[in-house]
Every structure is written in structure tokens, then in C-alpha cells.
């Protein structure tokens, strides 16, 4: 997979977008500004050239006018007649004070000078250069600046040759002062920023739109003088940069310069650059501000949606407002849908969990979950209840969990659990062990669970299980075992008694029929005693019923038998022994005593004395109206049973063979019955 590009916020992307759009526009604005500056400059340059052209044209026209005057005068009859005074007067009139006329001959002698009265002219010309150039070219000449001999001032001449028969005879000149030129400069009607300069072939300033007085006759600056003709150059004049154009007239080797300060264009360039810069800054500022605002308008609902998605992931509640962005609204709608679905499914999950919890509480099983790598057990509330622990013990390590196991079971349980984790047997386990609750109570628990393993390595990852308090079950199991043991014991005890009865009966009876009858009778009394005991779950039997049951087989309708005494319960083993004892007494009575006769009487009565934990019973067996009493000569089985039985009952027996019948007094002790 390619490395992801660096991510930026939407604001940054918007800034990029705006810059991409605005950049070319800004360049275009720059180009337009530049173009307008260039146009301005071109216009100015053209204007400079126009001004130059107009100036040069004016100069030429001025010379033309002078030349016309000169040519008119040259055709004057007074000149042809060489009537100099007349010519002087005519010239003076013709010029009307605009300059003065000088006429020199080919040798340079001044013939007429209207600046002065006729005849006062200097002898020779003050401008021999013009004479030389006229002679050389044969054409009109405009002179450089020179000091007039007549005026003693800097002047210049416009001169034409006058020929006679193809030979130069005279040169006629109009003498002019720079002031006349200055009028031409002023005639251009330019604002004071313009500087117009005219200089002669020697580079001396003839006229200047500014500082005329100071600069007249001084040398024009070299670089201005060297400037090419008819083109715009940029030169420093009077300490500032100027656009300069230099031109030359048709008639002279004079030059005229037009200068305009470059600062105007420069300031325009600067202003344009400033404007452009400000535009860029403004646009950039607006771009950033609006990109930020729009970015925020875009990202704040997105951030809200992101936060909502996070909250959804954590299962926390969240709120979302509609935004003004369709795509974000789609996300919000999807999130709200997901929230509803999560709520529905989590409600279903909660219901299911609640049902499970209710079931777990009803079943009283505690759940636990063990993360093997983290060595961390999580216990359910029910498990904590089983342990008697608080919610602070909801999580624990394996060893901390072992701390709850009863010390007697701890090592075995730890070993088993470690074996289970180590694996081998499918991972399902079932353990029973004791725990010691925090309150010190010891309980039995059943711990069943399942180990979940990494399918590839087989390593144990987690253990999930439930713990059930089986203390009651264990107790019931123990009771059951005890009951079985007890039953076994009783059966064996009873068999032992039966065996003893058989042996004793056999020992005292020679005749098989007699043995059978006696043995059956004794077994019968044993069985009836058992019946009595079984009726009350082997807890004991009422003395009256024990007596009645023992007598039942021997009492006939014509016997007078009375049984009287308070209610008292005889415990199980005592019941068996007492039944056998009463059976022997009854057997004896039936054979030799009161029950052997049809009208015999038997009174059985007892009293009780409650001693707290025990009850002492005095039972009296009294036979009357039977056959004559013959005391036995030797102690038989019956009397032995009575004596031993009385000992077993913790009492004594006393047999008295009275004339009226047998009297047996039995005193014994039974525990006070709880029921």
C-alpha cells in the first residue's frame, strides 16, 4: 500500500483552492497594472516627442519667417543700388524692432547695422563664422551664439547670401537675442514640469524654459549633448531623472531638448506596485479569512459528526444538528441511523443480559472471566456474593483468586487449574473445592468452565466459567451418605440381633417346632418395634404403644389387661431392647403367668420423673389371677435378657415372684424427647 499523503484540514485545502484561483487573477491584475503603467509611459514618451516635434517646428517656422523677411529685403532696390542709408531705413522699418539687420560684404565689412544709427556700425563683422559657412554652402545659415560687437550681448544671426551674377556679394543677417527664442519656448504653453532647452552647435545654451538668465551661454551637459536624436532617453537633469528627447531643426545645427520628470512614471509604477501588493495582501487575507470561515462551516459539523461517531463507538449518547452541507447531513443521517440501530441492539443486548443475570441470580451461579495474558479475572456480582466480597474485588489476579480457596484445597485446586490452562483435555473443566468467604464462612463451590485457546499455538487465551455454591448440595450428599451408612449399620445391627436371637433361641430350645415358634415370636416382636420406630422416622416410639405392641400376640379377649402411664417417648435402640424385654415377660406370662389363664389380669403402669435432660421411668408389670406362682430354679434367657436389657437402658430391673403373680419393676432412664 502506498504511503498516505499528508493530510490537511479542509481550511487548508480551501486556502489552496482559493490561491490556485486567485493566483492567476492576481498575476493578471499585476499584468494589467504593468500594462497601464507601460501605456502611461508610452503616452508620456509620445508626448515628449510631440512636444519636441512642435518645438522644432516652431523654431523652423521662426527661421522661415526671418528668412522670408531677409529675402524680401535682399530684393530691395536700395540694396541693388547700394544706397545704404536708404537700405538702413528700409530694413529698420521692415523689422519693426524684431531684431536688427546687419549687412556685410563678402570681405566681412559691415555696411549696414540697424542696431546702430547708420554710419555707426562696426568696421568688420562680429560673426565671421557665418560668412565662412555661407560662402561654403551658399545656403542660409543660422549662427551659433556670439557676442555682438554692436549690442555687446550674446546674440545669434539668421543669414542669407546675396549674389550678383553668381558671385557672393553680401551676406544679410538678422541679429536676434536669446530673448526672442525664449518667446518660442513660452509659446509651447507647457506646465512648469516640462524643461525645454535649445543649444547651438557649440553646445552653448541659447534658451531654456527655466533658469534662462543663469544658464544662458553655458555649456549644455555632455550626456544631453550626446543624446541621440528623435529618441527617448533617460537622463538626470537639474538633479532629477527625466525622460529626454533631443531634436534638430531643418535650418540650423542647433538642438532642442524636451525633458519631463521620470518621477511621474516612477511614482505611477510605485503606486501600481503598491496597489498590486495591497491587492495581493487583501486577496490573500480575504482568501485566508473566508477559507477559514468556510472551512469552519465545513469542519465544525464534521467535527461534531466525528465526536458523535466516537461517542457512538463508546456507546455514549450524543446530539447532532442538521448542517448546511448536504454530504455532512448524509453522514449525520447515517450516524443517527447507526445510533438507533446500536440503541436497539444494545437494548436487546441489555434485555438479554438482564435475563441472563436474572437467570444467573435465580440459579445463584457466579460468572467469571479470566484473561490469561493480563492475568486478570473479572467476577460477576453474583460471584462476589458467593465470595462475600465487595465490588472492589470485581477484578483480581489468579493468585488473588486462589486466596479465596480454602487452604486445605488450595494447592490441589491451583495444580488442577494450572493443568487445565496448560491444556491437553479439550479445555472444559469441572472442579469442586471449598472456599473461605471474606466473613470466614467456609462454603463448597462447583467451578465449571471452558478454556479458550489460540487455534494455531494452542496457548490458553481466556477462561470463562461459572461458580455455584454447592454447600447445601454437599451437605445433602453427606446426609445421604450418613443415612446410607446408618441404614447399613442398622441392618447389620438388626441382623446381628436376629442372629443373636436365633442363637439364643436355639440354645434354649431342643425341639425344632418349639424353636420355630419361639424364634418367629421373637422376630415378630422385633418387627413390631421396627414398625413403631419407622412410623416416626426412627426417632423413637411412645411407651404405651411399645407396651401394647409387645403384648398384642398374647392377649386374648377374656384377659384383663390395663396399660396406664403418662406419655413418654422411648429412643430407637431402647425401643428395640424394651420390646424384646416386654416380649420375654409376655411370653413368660402366656406360658406360666396371668395370660395363661382365661381370667388372668395384667396391669402395666408407669410413672415418670423429669430430671431435665433425662426422664426417669418407673414401669411396673403386675400379674394377678394366674396359676400358682413357682419361682424358677435357674436364671433362664428371659431373666438374663431383662437384667442385661435394664443395664443397656441405664436402669435396673427387679423381679418378685409374689403369690398372686409375677411383679416386675423396671426403672430406666431415657433422654428427654425433643419432640
Amino acid at each position: 500500500m502506498a504511503a498516505p499523503k499528508r493530510a490537511h484540514s479542509a481550511s487548508v485545502h480551501l486556502i489552496y483552492l482559493a490561491l490556485i484561483v486567485a493566483g492567476p487573477l492576481l498575476l493578471l491584475v499585476g499584468a494589467l497594472l504593468w500594462r497601464s503603467v507601460a501605456l502611461e509611459r508610452g503616452q508620456l514618451e509620445r508626448r515628449v516627442l510631440q512636444v519636441l516635434e512642435a518645438l522644432v517646428a516652431d523654431l523652423d517656422r521662426d527661421v522661415d519667417r526671418r528668412l522670408t523677411i531677409l529675402q524680401t529685403l535682399a530684393t530691395s532696390p536700395s540694396l541693388a543700388a547700394e544706397d545704404w542709408p536708404a537700405f538702413h531705413a528700409q530694413a529698420r522699418e521692415g523689422l519693426q524692432g524684431k531684431g536688427y539687420l546687419v549687412l556685410v560684404d563678402a570681405a566681412g565689412r559691415q555696411l549696414v547695422n540697424t542696431y546702430l544709427p547708420y554710419g555707426a556700425a562696426p568696421a568688420l563683422t562680429g560673426d565671421p563664422e557665418t560668412l565662412r559657412r555661407v560662402r561654403e554652402t551658399g545656403r542660409p545659415v543660422v549662427s551659433d551664439l556670439f557676442i555682438s560687437l554692436a549690442t555687446r550681448q550674446p546674440v545669434y544671426n539668421v543669414s542669407i547670401p546675396v549674389r550678383r551674377d553668381g558671385t557672393l556679394r553680401y551676406v544679410v543677417s538678422i541679429g536676434l537675442t536669446p530673448a526672442d527664442l525664449h518667446a518660442i519656448l513660452e509659446g509651447q504653453s507647457l506646465d512648469p514640469r516640462w524643461t525645454l532647452t535649445i543649444w547651438d552647435g557649440n553646445g552653448r545654451i541659447l534658451s531654456r524654459s527655466r533658469d534662462q538668465g543663469r544658464l544662458l551661454g553655458t555649456a549644455v551637459p555632455g550626456d544631453l549633448r550626446a543624446s541621440p536624436l528623435g529618441r527617448i532617453t533617460r537622463l538626470a537633469l537639474d538633479g532629477e531623472d527625466n525622460f529626454v528627447a533631443v531634436g534638430q531643426g531643418e535650418w540650423s545645427n542647433w538642438r532642442a531638448a524636451v525633458a519631463f520628470p521620470a518621477s511621474l512614471i516612477d511614482s505611477q509604477v510605485q503606486e501600481s506596485l503598491l496597489l498590486w501588493g495591497l491587492t495581493i495582501v487583501l486577496v490573500a487575507g480575504l482568501v485566508v479569512v473566508f477559507a477559514w470561515l468556510f472551512g469552519r462551516a465545513l469542519t465544525s459539523p464534521l467535527r461534531a459528526a466525528t465526536a458523535a461517531a466516537g461517542a457512538l463507538g463508546r456507546g455514549e449518547p450524543f446530539e447532532l444538528r442538521e448542517s448546511r452541507i448536504v454530504e455532512v447531513n448524509a453522514v449525520i443521517a447515517a450516524l443517527l441511523r447507526a445510533q438507533r440501530e446500536v440503541e436497539q441492539s444494545s437494548a436487546a443486548l441489555r434485555r438479554s443480559e438482564e435475563q441472563l443475570r436474572t437467570a444467573a441470580e435465580a440459579a445463584e451461579f457466579g460468572a467469571h472471566h479470566y484473561d490469561v495474558a493480563a492475568d486478570r479475572t473479572e467476577r460477576s456480582p453474583q460471584f462476589l456474593k458467593i465470595l462475600g466480597a465487595t465490588s472492589g474485588d470485581q477484578t483480581a489476579t489468579f493468585d488473588a483468586g486462589m486466596g479465596y480457596v480454602h487452604p486445605d484445597d488450595r494447592e490441589a485446586t491451583r495444580r488442577r487449574k494450572q493443568e487445565i490452562l496448560a491444556g491437553g483435555d479439550g479445555g472444559r473443566y469441572q472442579l469442586e473445592y471449598r472456599i473461605r468467604r471474606t466473613d470466614g464462612v467456609v462454603r463448597w463451590v462447583l467451578d465449571r468452565g471452558q478454556v479458550m485457546r489460540d487455534p494455531s499455538s494452542g496457548r490458553a487465551l481466556q477462561v470463562v466459567g461459572v461458580v455455584l455454591d454447592i454447600t447445601d448440595l454437599k451437605a445433602a450428599e453427606q446426609r445421604h451418605r450418613l443415612l446410607l451408612d446408618e441404614l447399613n449399620h442398622r441392618v447389620k445391627n438388626t441382623l446381628a440381633i436376629v442372629q443373636a436371637l436365633a442363637q439364643q433361641t436355639l440354645r434354649n430350645t431342643a425341639d425344632p417346632d418349639a424353636f420355630a415358634a419361639a424364634f418367629e415370636a421373637r422376630l415378630g416382636s422385633l418387627a413390631r418395634a421396627h414398625d413403631l420406630l419407622t412410623r416416626d422416622s426412627w426417632r423413637g416410639a411412645p411407651l404405651g404403644e411399645v407396651v401394647s405392641a409387645a403384648l398384642a400376640p398374647f392377649v386374648a379377649a377374656d384377659h384383663r389387661v390395663s396399660i396406664a402411664g403418662p406419655a413418654v417417648t422411648i429412643p430407637p435402640t431402647a425401643t428395640v431392647t424394651l420390646s424384646l424385654m416386654l416380649h420375654e415377660l409376655a411370653t413368660n406370662a402366656a406360658k406360666y403367668g396371668a395370660l395363661a389363664e382365661s381370667m388372668g389380669a395384667l396391669d402395666i403402669s408407669w410413672t415418670i420423673a423429669d430430671n431435665g435432660a433425662t426422664v426417669e421411668i418407673h414401669l411396673c408389670w403386675l400379674e394377678r389371677d394366674g396359676p400358682a406362682v413357682v419361682p424358677p430354679t435357674r436364671q433362664g434367657f428371659g431373666s438374663r435378657l431383662l437384667a442385661t436389657g435394664a443395664r443397656q437402658l441405664g436402669g435396673q430391673v427387679e423381679l418378685t415372684y409374689e403369690a398372686t403373680g409375677l411383679r416386675c419393676a423396671l426403672r430406666f432412664i431415657v433422654p428427654t424427647s425433643s419432640g
Binding site: 441382623l495 440381633i497 436389657g645 443397656q648
Partner: protein, 124 residues
Amino acid sequence: MSLAGMRVFIVEDETMILIVLEDSLATMGFEVVASALELDEALAKAAQITCDVAVLDINIAGRSVEPVANLLESRGIPFVFASGYGRAALPVRHGGRPLLTKPYNAEALRAALLKVLAKSEADA
């Protein structure tokens, strides 16, 4: 060895069984010097009587005969146990003693008594 004249002490809480036991032992030639039907009586007699061997029912009216066994052991008197319970009912300390499981016959009783008497004689 002869059992004739050997003095025996019986602890048995069941009258009929005691009677038969007395008769059986008498038949075998023992002299039954004492018998007890309950624990306190048994303890009192065990401390005083002179006898060669004893037969102890383990469960005496719900109480263990172990104190009597301990007393007899300390006096060097051999004894056998009798019980309707299994071997598990034997006091741990006396786990190695012979046990007669009720109901038992006279032959088993004789064999057990002979065994402990022989062992006692060998130890002596």
C-alpha cells in the same frame, strides 16, 4: 495357644448381641470378666479390670469407643473391634486393628481374638 481361662472384657451396647457374645466366648473357654453397655461404664471398667483381651463395639449408643480403645492400648491390653459399619468407622489411630463386621460368626470372632492374643504375646 489355648484360650481356656483367658479373661475377656466386652463393650457392646446391644443387649442381645452382648448376651450371645458372652455365651460364645464362654463356649470358647473365655472368662467374661466384665461387660459394658454404655461408654462411661466402659471407660470406668477399662481403667480397673484385669483382662487379657477385649471386644469393642465401635459405636456405643452413637458415641465412639475410641477413648476406651486408647485406654486399653495404654494398658497394653489387646482388643478387636466389632461394628456394623465398614472399616471406615475404625478410629484412625487404631486403623490396623482387626475388625469384626456384624453380623459375624463365632469362628471369625475366635480367629480375630487368637490373632491379637498371639501378637500381644509376641510383642510382650
